[in-house]
């Protein structure tokens, strides 16, 4: 039968039955014991999670601007019906405009994302490699507010923006499209600039960062133990302490006069969770030998199955409207082959992909918790952003006329964890100065038992990308 006919048939379900299904039928008394136990557990979890954010001691020069996106006009908060109607129209229009600017930004960024994936995820070693395209984008974009001349132009060129003004609008639209912070679903971007005590800075530049980039600006004794702790606390506060292992090692040298930090914290549940009872333990073929790992499984799950010249792929939806793609190189191909080919990124960012089929898939995904720290500076130099890293050539005159500044590195630390319930991921970015054919069967086994790639995207914005060579590392 056609779907339209099924929908028409379902319309004939009687009012009585629809109303009855509004709430679950009452169960016998013994069920209440289960509810009582669950409630106690939830309360216990709530207490653990609600730890207060760590205090930052450094002087605050500028507070980060809050999200400017209009909140969804919830009718329950309105007394005047006409006001609500006006707000509904405004909310719809704002969302549409933001979508258009984001699409424009993404079209300029596709080359950066594709090339970045190729450079930052390729590896000859048995290691997991991760990066956050959107985090690197926003971190780099922030430098255009602090720099001038060719230094600024190189970054604008890489990010596909015509001017600083256009980039501000685009970053703001991407930031607002990605931002979400409610109890269950989190996708929070945060930025900060840290300046050395006594550095004469341009207030306009710090105000622009605060407003257009939602950044906090601090000043203090960079390189001191206290400031190292402050920076770690700021990152931990903005990433739910998920990167604590990496932030323990933050030590700025006393020569540092400026540091930029950008974070993205993401937590979402699968639209359809995995069931722990279906987990299996099996072999994963890592490059330097087999390891045993835990797989999460779905049997005969109906989903879109995708393929390209060198890979096949599926994606799983998350409750906040984002998706996680799993990209498996074909037999005889490696993740590096897929990364060099690059078409998988077109598939991820496209609204529709011709080489796909809606079918039944037996899916096995390793449960993993992987982390990596990468210095992006060499890759960025190869992509044309050289001045900002070169002593004598870097032009940070928009920030300060004091001493000449250049960036000594651009480190990105990322951690991604997936389990039966969903995905948790975080990143911080630090810059401091001083093919095959269509599947033949109706049912396919998609088993991620050898190195694979993943991409997490929200509203077409790639938040995280990674290459898992060994889920047990």
């Amino acid at each position: 039968m056609e779907y339209e006919e099924i929908i028409t048939a379902l319309e004939e379900i009687s009012d009585k039955h629809i109303a009855e299904a509004e709430k679950p039928p009452k169960k016998r008394a013994k069920t209440f014991w289960k509810i009582a136990v669950a409630a106690v557990l939830v309360i216990a979890i709530g207490v653990t999670a609600m730890s207060a954010p760590a205090r930052i001691h450094a002087d605050v020069i500028a507070e980060a601007s809050e999200s400017r996106a209009m909140e969804w006009p919830n009718p329950q908060t309105y007394k005047d019906h006409d006001v609500w109607r006006v707000d509904v129209d405004q909310w719809n229009a704002e969302r549409e405009a933001r979508g258009e600017i984001t699409a424009q930004a993404l079209s300029g960024l596709s080359a950066f994302f594709r090339e970045g994936n190729g450079r930052f995820l390729q590896t000859e070693k048995n290691e997991n490699k991760l990066w956050s395209p959107v985090n690197a984008y926003i971190g780099l974009a922030m430098t255009t507010e602090l720099t001038d001349g060719e230094t600024r132009q190189q970054v604008l060129d890489l990010l596909g923006a015509e001017s600083v003004e256009e980039l501000r609008k685009q970053v703001s639209a991407v930031w607002e499209s990605t931002y979400q912070d409610d109890s269950n679903e989190v996708s929070v971007l945060a930025n900060s600039l840290w300046l050395e005590n006594g550095l004469q800075y341009n207030q306009e530049a710090t105000d622009a960062l605060s407003y257009h980039y939602y950044a906090s600006v601090y000043q203090g004794d960079l390189g001191s133990t206290r400031m190292n702790k402050d920076i770690a606390a700021w990152i931990n506060n903005n990433t739910g302490n998920f990167l604590e292992d990496s932030t323990k090692g933050i030590v700025l040298s006393p020569e540092t006069v400026m540091a930029l930090y950008s974070t993205l914290y993401f937590q979402a549940k699968w639209s359809d969770e995995f069931s722990e009872s279906k987990n299996t333990e099996d072999v994963f073929h890592a490059p330097d030998g087999d390891v045993r790992t835990v797989y999460m499984n779905k049997k005969l799950e109906q989903m879109d199955y995708y393929w390209g010249e060198t890979f096949s792929a599926v994606n799983l939806w998350l409750k906040n409207g984002s998706r996680m793609w799993f990209i498996l190189p074909d037999e005889g191909k490696t993740v590096n082959d897929v990364l060099s080919d690059g078409t998988y990124m077109e598939m991820v960012l496209a609204n529709q992909w011709e080489d796909s089929k809606y079918m039944k898939v037996n899916l096995s995904v390793p449960k993993f918790d992987v982390a990596s720290t990468t210095d992006l500076s060499e890759g960025l130099k190869d992509m044309g952003v050289t001045n900002v890293f070169t002593e004598g050539a870097a032009d940070f005159s928009e920030l300060t006329a004091d001493s000449p500044i250049y960036l000594t590195g651009a480190n990105q630390s990322v951690r991604v964890q997936i389990d039966e319930e969903g995905v948790k991921a975080a990143v911080y970015f630090e810059m401091k100065g001083a093919g095959s054919a269509a599947p033949p069967e109706e049912i396919i086994d998609f088993v991620l038992d050898r190195p694979f790639l993943f991409v997490i995207e929200k509203e077409n914005v790639p938040l995280f990308a990674g290459c898992v060579n060994n889920p047990e590392n």
Binding site: I6, D15, A19, S271
Partner: protein, 186 residues
């Protein structure tokens, strides 16, 4: 607030009618829209469209009972939007639910809408003969579009048990429809 009073507020064009509608039905409407559209923002937009549609329809319509009327309006708004945004990427969870149901429905195209309506009425008669819990499972899955996991959570059951139950209900429906004279081909 009682459903009857909400209808009275709508008739009186009272300013708090929408907020009362939202307090009473908002959560469920959002869930239906999300189940069909698979996107939180789209679901929010669709839920507000539903309130506007209800405001425009009542009066003159005076639905009694109100709840199924509200949910039908919400479901139709979501389906309409889904039809409009066919090119948009989305979670296909609702397709999966329809596909699953299709497995136990007669093959071939029904020639007229009226045939589909008659099939729906037969489905409703079949559900009448089932227990409240089985009816709940079936209607939540295929009408409200809930996932098996969500239904299991509501009923404090294992997911697998809900899947097995759905299989049995669908098998029963197929048997019932065959007896009613529907043909399934070879």
């Amino acid at each position: 607030m009682e459903d009857r009073k909400i209808v009275q507020l709508l008739f009186a064009r009272a300013e708090n009618a929408i907020s009362e509608l939202s307090a009473r039905f908002g959560k469920q409407l959002h869930r239906i829209a999300y189940n069909i559209l698979g996107n939180k923002m789209d679901a929010e937009e669709c839920t507000n469209d539903t309130y506007l549609a209800l405001w425009n329809a009542i009066p003159p319509v005076s639905p009694d009972p109100l709840a199924p009327y509200v949910y039908r309006t919400g479901r139709n708004a979501a389906l309409k939007r889904l039809h409009r945004d066919t090119a948009k990427k989305r979670d296909r969870r609702y397709d999966i639910s329809l596909e699953e149901l299709n497995g136990c429905l007669p093959g071939g195209d029904l020639e007229q809408v009226i045939d589909a309506m008659e099939l729906g009425r037969a489905m409703d008669r079949f559900l009448e003969s089932k227990s409240k819990e089985n009816r709940y499972i079936f209607i939540r899955r295929y009408w409200y579009g809930d996932s098996v996991g969500e239904i299991a959570k509501e009923l404090h059951m294992q997911e697998n048990a809900v899947s097995v139950r759905l299989n049995r209900i669908r098998a029963g429906l197929k048997e019932y429809l065959e007896k009613e004279g529907y043909h399934y081909g070879v």
